[in-house]
């Protein structure tokens, strides 16, 4: 089980570890290390920043995940033919349609929203996104994604981990495993779920799978203490905690040999934890943001304030060197998900209303601060929705074709890649599997999908498994 791979930093002396700690080379887990197969060849700081395989276009990622799946044909992939065939059955030529509850024998349903062309690029967006549509010149739409499962959790696992099965390392884990972190005092990989509840796939969506625990996503919760157990128990003052910590550290120092990097790493991890206690609350303290910024993210409006806060936090985290931030819109009760099996109009207007302005604000803010160039923003979900109706006014799941968009981080702006058929049911060739999605993201971050591997139970496991194709048209 010795993954002799460049992603593990080779042995250094304990002095080096401590020097690195002092200079904040690494990150929260500066002190992370794998137990060597036996003793001597010890490794330190799994999260120290590591050089990519080649010159990267993006340094960090913000992944906006729309839980439950928005309808592509009602947002970014207009289908005029649906207006024509509204109420009719799907032509037999389409064959049987696999979905979760329906079987493709319900009538086609036209989009209740109008589409307009925006920006110089003339990209089409429905009236659901009055704010996001102002940024189409920065967006790259891919309309030809498909995925393997028609059920939420497996499909979420596939977007996040590459497999429809539970328990594989998530993309953020792979990326932090590959690149380490630029942040000294914060987790490398932060996840912000919907406060009402977790997405169907649950914590495995941001799990490390068989990679060491240090690479798993750290959940940030609302409030001043975003990380679990960040604060000392009530009644323990910082002075008191420091005193106990000093006592612990002197005991540890006493019996640690100078060459013992593993123990040195453990000593450092306590210093980093201590620093995190002040840095994490600082990172989530938005009180010093200007009124203009707050309005930009919709913090002044009831329906956008919550998601807007998380978007603003994403910017603040990326600014502070966090490598991968994932925000979930939706989770918990069906009424707070994009899963419009019934009442498509009410559902999508509500969910778009909560997210449209904040996402537009995030894009604008990243741009004006010069962060968009090196930050890859992704908007997507586990699948799309069917052109047929469910229950009269809803839509069932569509894994056969759906849209995601990308911005910044070396992506070609203002273009559309790929297409679905006339009705928006199936992605047309060259359609793109989630493996292509992952291969492209790794490419933008300077990572070669085939060089990023981990030996697990006899197999060199990779995010893209059998390999994906980088979607070249997307690259600027």
């Amino acid at each position: 089980m010795s993954p002799n791979n460049r992603h593990f930093v080779p042995a250094v002396t304990r002095r080096d570890v401590l020097v690195r700690a002092a200079h904040g080379f690494g990150s929260i887990a500066l002190a992370s290390l794998l137990s060597p197969p036996a003793g001597a060849a010890q490794r330190v700081n799994a999260l120290a920043a590591k050089p990519p395989h080649f010159k990267p276009r993006a340094k960090s990622v913000i992944f906006l995940f729309m839980v439950g799946a928005p309808s592509h044909i009602d947002t970014f992939d207009p289908k005029p033919a649906l207006d024509k065939y509204d109420g009719q059955l799907l032509p037999a030529s389409y064959g049987t349609v696999v979905s979760e509850f329906t079987k493709g024998d319900t009538p086609l349903l036209k989009s209740p929203w109008k589409f307009n062309k925006y920006g110089q690029s003339g990209r089409e967006v429905s009236t659901l996104f009055p704010h996001m549509s102002q940024h189409v010149d920065d967006l790259c739409f891919v309309r030809s994604f498909y995925t393997e499962s028609t059920v939420h959790a497996p499909a979420m696992y596939q977007v996040n981990t590459g497999r429809i099965l539970m328990g594989y390392p998530s993309m953020g884990s792979w990326i932090t495993y590959g690149l380490g972190s630029e942040s000294e005092n914060l987790p490398a990989y932060v996840v912000m779920p919907q406060p009402e509840g977790t997405p169907e796939g649950g914590t495995p969506c941001w799990g490390a799978g068989f990679l060491p625990a240090v690479y798993q996503g750290t959940v940030f919760r609302p409030g001043p203490n975003p990380i679990i157990n960040l604060r000392p128990p009530a009644g323990v003052t910082p002075e008191r905690q420091r005193r106990t910590l000093d006592f612990l550290q002197s005991m540890n120092e006493m019996d640690t040999l100078d060459t013992d990097t593993e123990m040195a790493a453990r000593i450092s991890s306590y210093e980093l934890a201590f620093r995190m206690q002040s840095h994490a609350p600082e990172a989530v303290d938005i009180s010093k943001e200007t009124q203009a910024t707050r309005e930009l993210y919709g913090l002044d409006q009831k329906h956008t304030a919550e998601f807007g806060t998380r978007c603003l936090l994403a910017r603040r985290l990326v600014e502070r060197g966090v490598r991968f931030v994932q925000i979930y819109s939706g989770g918990g009760p069906v009424s707070v998900q994009w899963d419009a099996h019934s009442n498509l109009v009410a559902n999508h207007e509500k969910m778009c209303g909560m997210t449209d302005l904040p996402i537009a604000g995030l894009l604008q803010d990243l741009k004006q601060r010069g962060l968009l160039e090196e930050t890859l923003v992704i908007w997507g979900a586990e699948f799309g929705r069917l052109p047929m109706s469910q229950g009269g006014n809803g839509r069932d799941h569509n894994p056969h074709g759906f849209t995601m968009w990308f911005a910044g981080g070396g992506v070609k702006p203002g273009i559309t890649v790929g297409e679905t058929d006339e009705l928006g049911l199936n992605a047309l060739e060259p359609r793109h599997h989630m493996r292509d999605f992952h291969a492209t993201i790794l490419q933008l971050l300077g990572l070669d999908q085939n060089q990023l591997w981990f030996l697990h139970n006899g197999r060199n496991e990779k995010l893209t498994d059998f390999g994906g194709n980088v979607i070249k048209e997307m690259l600027a």
């Binding site: 003793g39 509840g197 799978g209 157990n229 006592f247 453990r266 934890a273 918990g332 229950g391 006899g458």
Partner: protein, 726 residues
């Protein structure tokens, strides 16, 4: 066909692998297997002679193998570890708990030559021995108490398999019998409850149970994949699952072999089998009836409260619908036209409110009433009688097993050639798997435990060695294939395998042999010169330092602070979780009552092996210390070190509570306010030794600087020495 058979025969003759009856193996495949079948792991175990090295260091045959390998590299073994380290090491290794100060003192005072072996025998006889082993075994078979995936439902009876495993190790059940019961429990030992429970092994993995159009064929294939994958990894140390989509890229496993292995399990299925006695059943029925009667008034009251709101919402929503939908809805069910039936269904899905919408519509008074009723409901639910005892088993079905096929890229919709049940050709000896549904698993179990099988004994002795010495002789314990590690000392591995079978497949015998060897007794201290020759300690010139698993660390803390409840077995225990963790439980329903905790503190302080293991919700302390996710087999736990561990171990409520308990224990044991005694006792409890003068000085300085006893305890429980076993 004749040509094919002869090719196979020749290959078999040349390479000594069993290809003789492979009528359905093509010429090309036979060549593929034949060439790769020469690999060491597929050769029958031949007991090697014990090297003759005359040295007083040699106490066991193991030592002779190790010493001769060291001498070949001009290395010498390390000094023996001191007695304190030794008793701490062997106690953690064999029972997963720290030695008590009394046990340490007794060992230090006992200067008789067999003092150590008596400690070992005491530990091997401890009921905690089985718990220690179960933690390792359950990692390999990726056991959990829930199904996994989004619903991640409870498996109310799975825990009996966990207890079965603990019990098997405690009673030193022979490993061949252990395998037979798990692979073919009900089939080989009809009427034996224990064997039926053991077959729960085949269902230990995750299973995707969810609403909606889940294709039964796809689900069935997922179940068989889980089984075949784990049987390969656990018993054979082979990644047969790599051959699911194509012939194995590295090992001589055909894609057909993979589906032949699956076919062995295809005639059986997961089932909860009642194992209650008639008396137990009668008692349960009475208890359940009483429980339902307690539940009914609360449920009725809730329904009564919600009904008018729900009906009002439905009426309002209905009025918004198109006329034809309204009409269909209002038409009595029996009188609806086929069209109206669809429309009525549509209407239903459009007007039916979810629980949160109903609650939002309530008056503050009714909301309050409802909250109280929900609390009452959970109170009653907490008194639910234990379910009727069932075996969470895997049993033969009523139908003959369906024909097996090779599946293109593992896709059940894409069948290629038919296959019959069989074991991988490369290691097939004379055992035939019958085509009849009944008997397939028996034949597999007999084959696994036959002396002809080159892998099974090697794989398990390697695991025993790994758990005692810190690394395996083969460091990839689930993969003895070409992509896996080569044994650092194959002679030793083969001798151990042969000895294991000769001594009746007894794990305790092997454990005893290893922990009483000079190899095991060595110090873990590093050494520059030896590291220069063997940096990874593959030849075992010293002991490897081990870090506590998250579970063991928790058990150690509970034990040291005097809080541990040592009760064995029973239903899994939910301990209190942080609100942040509670939030991560997925539900589309109401968020109350999702994690019912037993309010009895002593129940919460059970050993970690008994904690409720929910695949999608992990406990922060355990997961921070690399507890695996119970989703794939974990043969070696990673050891990572990071700041979240420090936060968990320094700031959590659990640690606060435990350092207080520790301080209280010290105060009791030292009677009066005696700081020196408290420090000394704390060290003995936590580290099995007395504090050094320098440490005493440090502690004194800590107290004079304002530190208190609780904080000293917290620091001690965080110390490197506490978390590692050298």
């Amino acid at each position: 066909m004749r040509k094919i058979i002869s090719a196979a025969l020749i290959t078999a003759a040349v390479f000594g692998v069993g290809l003789a009856s492979d009528k359905d193996t093509t010429d090309k495949e036979a060549k593929f297997i034949g060439a790769r079948g020469k690999y060491w792991a597929f050769q029958k175990v031949v007991r090697p002679p014990v090297p003759s090295v005359s040295d007083s260091w040699v106490r066991t045959p193991i030592d002779a193998f190790i010493l001769s390998a060291l001498q070949a590299k001009k290395l010498t073994p390390s000094e023996p570890a001191d007695r304190i380290r030794l008793i701490r090491r062997v106690t953690f290794d064999l029972i997963g708990l720290p030695p008590t100060p009394a046990e340490v003192d007794a060992f230090l005072k006992d200067r008789s030559p067999d003092a150590y072996t008596r400690v070992v025998d005491r530990l091997l006889a401890s009921p905690h021995y089985g718990e220690r082993w179960a933690l390792k075994w359950l990692d390999i078979v990726r056991y959990a108490d829930t199904n996994g995936f989004e619903i991640d439902g409870d498996r109310s009876h799975a825990w009996r398999y966990r207890d079965y495993v603990i019990d098997a190790f405690n009673h030193d059940k022979s490993y061949d019998r252990f395998i037979k019961e798990q692979i073919a429990g009900g089939e080989m030992f009809p009427g034996n409850k224990e064997a039926l429970i053991a077959s729960g092994y085949l269902r230990a993995g995750q299973e995707h149970l969810v609403a909606g159009n889940i294709d039964p064929e796809v689900s069935r294939e997922e179940v068989l994949t889980e089984i075949a994958t784990n049987v390969g990894q656990t018993f054979l140390g082979m990644t047969v699952n790599c051959a699911r989509c194509h012939n194995h890229k590295f090992d001589p496993i055909l894609q057909a072999d993979y589906y032949r292995l699956q076919a062995i399990f295809a005639g059986a299925e997961g089932k909860e089998v009642e194992i209650a006695t008639p008396e137990e059943k009668a008692a349960w029925e009475a208890a359940d009836k009483a429980y339902q009667e307690r539940l009914k008034p609360v449920k009725d009251a809730l329904e009564q409260l919600q009904k008018p709101y729900r009906e009002r919402i439905e009426a309002t929503e209905l009025a918004k619908l198109e006329q034809k939908l309204q009409e269909a809805w209002k038409t009595p069910e029996a009188k609806r036209t086929p069209d109206q039936k669809t429309l009525a269904e549509n209407a239903k899905s459009q007007i039916e409110p979810t629980w949160d919408i109903v609650v939002a519509a309530m008056t503050p008074e009714d909301k309050d009433k409802r909250a109280k009723l929900r609390a009452k409901l959970h109170e009653v639910e907490a008194t639910e009688p234990d379910p009727l005892p069932m075996a969470y088993a895997y049993v033969n079905g009523d139908q003959p097993a369906p024909q097996g096929y090779v599946l293109r890229m593992g896709d059940p919709k894409n069948r290629l050639d038919p296959v019959e049940p069989s074991v991988p050709r490369v290691i097939k000896a004379s055992y035939e798997i019958p085509k009849a549904t009944v008997g397939r698993r028996t034949a597999l179990a007999n084959w696994l435990t036959s002396e002809e099988n080159p892998l099974v004994a090697r794989v398990i002795v390697n695991r025993i060695w790994q758990y005692r010495m810190g690394t395996g002789i083969v460091r990839t314990p689930n993969d003895f294939g070409v992509m896996g590690d080569r044994p650092s000392n194959q002679q030793l591995l083969d001798w151990l395998a042969s000895e294991f079978v000769a001594k009746g497949w007894s794990i305790k015998t092997m454990d005893r042999l290893i922990v009483t060897s000079s190899v095991y007794l060595q110090s873990a201290a590093p050494d520059k010169d030896r590291e220069g020759v063997d940096p990874d300690n593959r030849l075992y010139w010293r002991m490897n330092r081990k870090r506590m698993e998250g579970e063991t660390l928790r058990d150690e803390i509970l034990s040291v602070t005097g809080s541990l409840n040592p009760k064995l077995g029973g239903r899994p225990v939910r301990i209190p979780i942080e609100p942040e963790v509670y939030d991560l439980i997925f539900t589309e329903h109401e968020r109350d009552g999702l994690w019912p905790v037993n309010p009895d503190k002593s129940v919460q302080n059970r050993r970690s092996i008994y904690l409720y293991d929910k695949r999608s919700v992990r406990l922060p302390l355990l997961t921070a210390f690399d507890q695996p996710d119970s989703i794939t087999s974990c043969p070696v736990r990673p050891v990572s070190t990071h700041a979240l561990q420090a936060l968990s171990l320094f700031n959590s409520d659990f640690m606060q509570e435990q350092s207080q308990a520790f301080a209280a224990r010290l105060r009791t044991e030292c009677k009066k306010d005696n700081q020196a005694c408290e420090v000394k006792t704390a060290w003995k409890l936590a580290l099995a030794r007395t504090p050094t003068p320098a440490e005493q000085k440090l502690a004194k300085k800590f107290f004079t600087g304002g530190g208190n006893l609780v904080d000293m305890c917290l620091a001690l429980l965080n110390r490197n020495e506490f978390v590692y076993v050298p």
